[in-house]
Symmetry: C2
Subunit: 120 residues, 2 copies
DNA sequence: TCCATATTTCGAAAATCATCGAATCGATTG
DNA sequence: CAATCGATTCGATGATTTTCGAAATATGGA
């Protein structure tokens, strides 16, 4: 994946997180762990109408930082940890290109685990 | 700074970066180092009209991730490294709250340098 | 003072985003 | 099959963002 493609994705991912409700939802999903949460529960916790929340969840999913899976009538949403790490990697590498003495050890740290695929 | 205030700021910072031109500008400023770049040069490099770029730079500055300083007729813009680290900190701590085994060592890594103030 | 330069602010048009009720879809149950 | 439940899609409205030329501001020099 070349730099430009990566940046285009980063813009979309950042945009998905750049919203009060959506950032709250993402944080909640991270805390919820691999189990994730059911759409209705997410909407209720955030006190947002289901249709509005569905819209926000779609944005997060399109940006590739959350995933959904249907289980009978319920739909589970969960944070995509590897994607989040890719985003952090992009931002940090970016940062360190110019100022390696500032956060140089972060790059190694982000390679901490080999779970590039969904580590559920 | 409590969590809610931090999140409100994070939303603004993420929103500032969630734009093709602005993310490019920020990356360019990071690479440019503490010297930063002059407004006109930024606009020219990105092939964007000065007034449009001025608007984007204002958004980045309001979000607190770039700083400006006037030097006679020129205005220097530079990336605010500590602010960027704070944003990364927020995102990573967020992430690790739920999944410490994924990127637990990142928190220590981000504390790598004590330059909480402007390290120009 | 008058002019040139660097940049910002203003203002208006176009585009995108956010919200949420109503209608629809998918799955389960009687 | 009809009813119900959980969730999404549609559609319309209002709000915000993006864009950029024209005008304004600030600085330095002749």
């Amino acid at each position: 994946m070349d730099d430009l493609t990566m940046q285009v994705w980063a813009v979309e991912a950042l945009g998905a997180l750049a919203h009060e409700t959506r950032l709250s939802v993402f944080r909640m999903l991270v805390k919820a762990g691999p189990e994730g949460m059911i759409a209705g529960a997410i909407a209720e916790h955030q006190a947002v109408p289901p249709s509005t929340m569905s819209h926000h969840l779609a944005i997060l999913e399109r940006a590739g930082i959350v995933q959904s899976e249907r289980e009978s009538r319920l739909i589970h949403y969960r944070a995509d940890y590897p994607a989040m790490r890719r985003l952090l990697m992009f931002l940090i590498q970016d940062c360190c290109q110019g100022v390696p003495e500032m956060c140089g050890d972060l790059i190694a740290a982000l390679h901490c685990s080999p779970s590039q695929s969904q580590g559920a």
